[in-house]
Symmetry: C2
Subunit: 283 residues, 2 copies
């Protein structure tokens, strides 16, 4: 990429490093996109690994960086955090702002193929190509030292992208991921809109399906709240564990009693997740 | 208080304890008031001390509990956190919603005496009387084991309330407090409105004035960001340190290079503040 223009829209010193916000024109999404980062103090004297966070439905690039408390642990371990937005904003697609779980705030980390959405809703390419190019060109990061984690829709994103791009990430983790979007209301709604009615295509973006033919050769950690109101209907945690067992996929999965779907849950176990990635990223 | 009715409006398990939100009719402020709490896991098996947080301008009862990361440390030390709102809401006083630094979100932790505001804007009595009565009646808290801290307007609140009510708190701390509201634009604006034009009355609610005749016999900690955009014009940090020195007030005051006025700054030094209070509260 020859021309990269990013605009810094915020900078706050945090745990010895810097929380920063940026916007940039996106060739892939066809409009302005936002992301936040945390640069640990170690980035002032050398290259650091990068850990991408993928947020859940309705979130933008700010929720994680203001609420998760991740900077404390990223500062300790010397890891850069990158938190992109969850969709294009203001793309102008009819209906994109009508419901919280389709369109704006609900990009699902896939490339839409249905004509209506296909021009702008290309979050998979954005996360896998354009954003990493920007990060590598703009910040002191190590080559090929990248990991990914996320929450809910972003947990689905982290798991499926790690499955679809073997070798790309050193580790993956998820909080309350949507494990089987092909068979839950959130996933069925957006996959029909973004991908059309061929359910064979849906399986290419479904961790519970992908894990049947692909093995994640990197460390995998999943935390799931036991009192998550979406556990039964949307997340398919038990089904995914069974599919992993049936297909010899090793992972660490923890059902956390009493916790729900909120950032309070995420903050509680953030230290463990950053440690999980730090170990794989060898920092 | 014979009739206390509080309504729980939220509950999220957090670091082994519970973040909860409440609303209640306030006799003192003449309307519904909101507060948030964190109950540490230790509160399930015994009484715990209470640490009150007073927020800054524009905040409500949620900012601290969602952004500060304080639950992690309160859980470690076994301290209950209580974060009230910063003013009445919807009191109906003319002009209360016109600017961010007067009226709604800007109660300044004093009792207004000017007629227009005096019925509702009584945050000093609310914080010192009504709210603690509710807390003691509703939660497993230790008698006389209370401390206070806050940010900006709330740092002013913490310091002045500790000065005005000797013996009430075991410790006090502040992030970027408004140290001398009698002589800064924020303070001059609200004191004129809430207290009238007799500047002798203003001095009764000004830490930099109160410290001349009262000594805080409890541990005092202040953190101030070196790149705080309000440092010069609004906060009077250097003046307050000089007044403390001139009047033999001991305190720990730290100018933190590069930090600003935000919750990123607060989160960075939250562990130190909770530790400061835990020591005084003997937990």
């Amino acid at each position: 990429m020859s021309n990269i223009t990013i605009t810094q829209t915020g900078a706050n010193k945090t745990f010895g490093g810097w929380t920063k916000m940026f916007s940039h024109p996106s060739a892939i999404c066809g409009g302005e996109m936002n992301f936040s980062v945390f640069l640990p103090p170690q980035a002032e004297s050398g290259d650091v690994p990068v850990l991408y966070w993928l947020s859940g439905l309705t979130c933008n690039h700010e929720n994680f960086i203001t609420k998760s408390g991740a900077q404390q642990y990223a500062s300790e371990h010397g890891i850069m955090l990158v938190a992109p937005d969850t969709s294009p904003r203001g793309a102008g697609v009819k209906g994109e702002d009508d419901t919280y779980d389709l369109g704006t705030g609900a990009g699902f980390y896939i490339n839409a193929t249905e004509k209506k959405w296909a021009t702008n809703y290309r979050m998979e390419d954005y996360i896998m190509q354009e954003l990493p190019e920007i990060i590598r060109a703009s910040f002191p990061v190590m080559e090929e030292q990248e990991s990914v984690f996320g929450h809910s829709m972003g947990g689905h994103g982290a798991l499926t992208l790690a499955l679809k791009y073997p070798g790309r990430y050193r580790s993956v983790s998820a909080f309350s991921p949507i494990c089987a979007p092909s068979r839950c209301p959130w996933g069925e709604k957006v996959f029909l809109e973004y991908l059309g009615d061929d359910k064979g295509k849906w399986k290419l973006h479904d961790a519970n399906e992908l894990i049947k033919s692909t093995t994640l050769e990197i460390p995998v950690l999943i935390d799931q709240g036991g009192d998550d109101p979406f556990l039964e209907k949307e997340l398919n945690y038990e089904l995914f564990l069974k599919t992993c067992t049936d297909n010899n996929q090793t992972l660490t999965a923890r059902l956390q009693t009493g916790y729900d779907h909120s950032y309070y849950f995420i903050a509680t176990f953030m230290a463990d997740h950053i440690r999980h990635h730090a170990k794989a990223l060898q920092v």
